[in-house]
């Protein structure tokens, strides 16, 4: 039927009695359109080849032909579980590139929506991860809280999923007293909800059997595979962009980064549960510390940005030791490149921008955690069973919208 499509699994001599299974792209547990080509011996996976690209929309090419402000809507569609966090990541990167100041209130609002997005994403992760392992009741309990947050998003910015909330130099809307009241009530009730999920799965012997010791990742291995986020912290590597390269108002807030030891599925599960509690603490602080003021910075650009440089570009202002040239200068649209990482729920979301002094990015690269995590699946998926592979896909917390871009 499909002569044109070549099977990517290389068939070599003596391989004929391997059982080949193409899991996905339409499969209940591959979280979107991930396809995994498996070679099985019974139910044990001998080789595992993830295939992505079914959702490739060419964001990096699209971005080269749109202004910085317009590209914001693309980031909603990266990790659609936490669109707010992507918005913030994108804006932080562009603000670094174009040297735009953010108002203090906007910083706190950004942290607030970031953490709300983290909660929505982690709740959805918990829901689907538990469903993958078979505990289907957790699914709806988690959605109950997620719904509260989604409605808060809708009230705040007019959209539930693709928020487009941040703007260069600030955010789109201020919070109201009502929203903060609702958020406050949510923050108070949330730890009890976490306890509820934990009653169902945390100490359950079947859950423990399915998660403890499965797909362990040591610290070296995690760094080798370039894992980030909870997947790396599960192995005990203390790497959280919010602490290492603080952005928005994270340096003014007090929170902890949970670290695991064993690096197995259970450790990552515990870390995400702890992270939810930490997010809750951050939200509480945001409510208490929200500063007054405007929601955009003083030099925030208009939404319709000019496409030519506003000031003359002056590189090579001062030289340092011959070779090192400091070309830093306050100038919008000056040539140069920045890499800014933010901690989205899935891991480290980085934006690498190259500017050629025009109003559109010359090159935008999205370092998407999901893409790298699916790449790691190739290593982690070897030698486990089919049921474990499902759990591993769940624990890596991949979103194909972000992976394929």
């Amino acid at each position: 039927m499909t002569e044109t499509t070549t099977l990517s699994v290389p068939v070599t001599q003596g391989d004929e009695d391997k059982y080949k299974l193409r899991m996905g792209p339409q499969h209940p547990a591959t979280h979107g359109v991930l396809r995994v080509d498996l070679e099985l011996d019974g139910e044990t996976i001998l080789d595992c080849y993830p295939q992505v690209g079914y959702l490739h929309r060419g964001f990096e090419k699209l971005a080269e032909n749109r202004t910085y402000a317009q590209n914001l809507v693309l980031t909603d569609r990266l990790d659609y579980m936490a669109a707010m966090a992507n918005n913030v990541g994108y804006c932080e990167a562009v603000e670094k590139l174009l040297d735009i100041n953010v108002s203090e209130r906007a910083k706190f609002l950004r942290v607030m929506v970031c953490e709300m997005a983290r909660l929505t994403s982690h709740l959805l992760w918990l829901a689907t991860h538990a469903l993958d392992i078979g505990a289907m009741t957790v699914f709806l309990y988690a959605f109950r809280e997620r719904e509260t947050l989604m409605e808060l998003f809708a009230e705040l910015c007019g959209s539930r999923l693709t928020n487009t909330y941040t703007r260069l130099g600030g955010v789109r809307q201020d919070v109201t007293h009502e929203i903060m009241m609702k958020l406050d009530r949510f923050v108070n009730e949330f730890p009890a909800c976490i306890a509820e999920y934990e009653t169902l799965i945390d100490t359950n012997r079947i859950w423990l059997k399915r998660t403890v010791g499965i797909a362990p990742v040591s610290a070296e291995m995690g760094l080798d595979l370039c894992l980030t986020g909870a997947s790396l912290r599960g192995s005990g590597v203390d790497y959280d962009v919010r602490k290492h390269m603080p952005y928005a108002a994270y340096d003014q807030l007090d929170f902890e980064v949970p670290l695991g030891e064993t690096g197995d599925i259970y450790a990552r599960y515990r870390i995400r549960m702890e992270e939810m509690l930490q997010s809750n603490i951050i939200l509480r602080q945001c409510i208490e510390k929200m500063p007054p003021g405007s929601i955009v910075g003083d030099d925030a650009p208009d939404l319709i940005m000019p496409t030519i440089p506003q000031k003359k570009v002056t590189p090579d202002t001062s030289a340092h030791q011959g070779l090192i040239k400091l070309i830093d200068d306050r100038n919008v649209y000056m040539e140069g490149d920045v890499y800014v990482a933010t901690e989205v729920p899935k891991g480290e979301l980085g934006f690498y921008f190259v500017s050629d002094s025009k109003g559109k990015p010359y090159r935008m690269h999205i370092r998407s955690p999901s893409f790298i995590h699916i790449g790691a699946l190739q290593t982690l998926g070897k030698g486990v069973m089919v049921a474990d592979l499902i759990a591993i896909i769940g624990t890596l917390d991949v979103v194909l919208g972000e992976c394929d871009r």
Partner: protein, 217 residues
Amino acid sequence: MNVQYKPKRNLLGTIFQVEILQGMALTLRKLFSPPITRQYPEEKPPMYPGFRGQHALVRDPLTQESKCIGCMRCATICPSRCIHIRCEKDTRGKEVLQSYSIEALRCVFCGFCVEVCPVGAITMTEVFEYASYDRESLYFNKDALLKNWDKFLDESGHGEDYVNPFWRPRGLPEAELPAAQRMKVPEDWTIAGQFIGTNLRSPKQKITDTHTEEDHA
């Protein structure tokens, strides 16, 4: 901070399946708790003002025509390039809108067009149920967009001079806003009335807001 693990199951817990029974007790309790789901077609979700739904062109109560002045700002900013505008100069040399169309199937519902509009002509209504079986009916031309506005006014019961206050962003100084967005808004939409960080739970600093009482009730 290292993650805390719950204590390991002891022998009695293993024999009597304590943790499974706890889980089952929870599900049994939930059997008698009220459901959280919404019976959608009968029961509509709450719509907040400013929901980015169906597009509409605001009908000017004075002229019964669109307010659009044909400045092309919306068509310029639109990231999916789904707005098409044609203007012509009339006898007095004034730009007159000839056609205005939005391809709703290409729209990404970012709301940028509404945000940049200097006169508040284009808006996004709270209508979200307008799925259709054919593409043509989702290609809104000027008449369709004006009709959308009438439909929205009918359904929501607003007067014909209704202006969605959401499109005047909260928390911005009045001076930074275009003229069309400088409208009369409730107190807590201005910077003076904005939410400032407080401990909402401590009784001393309880803010005297009418919403507070309702929410706690």
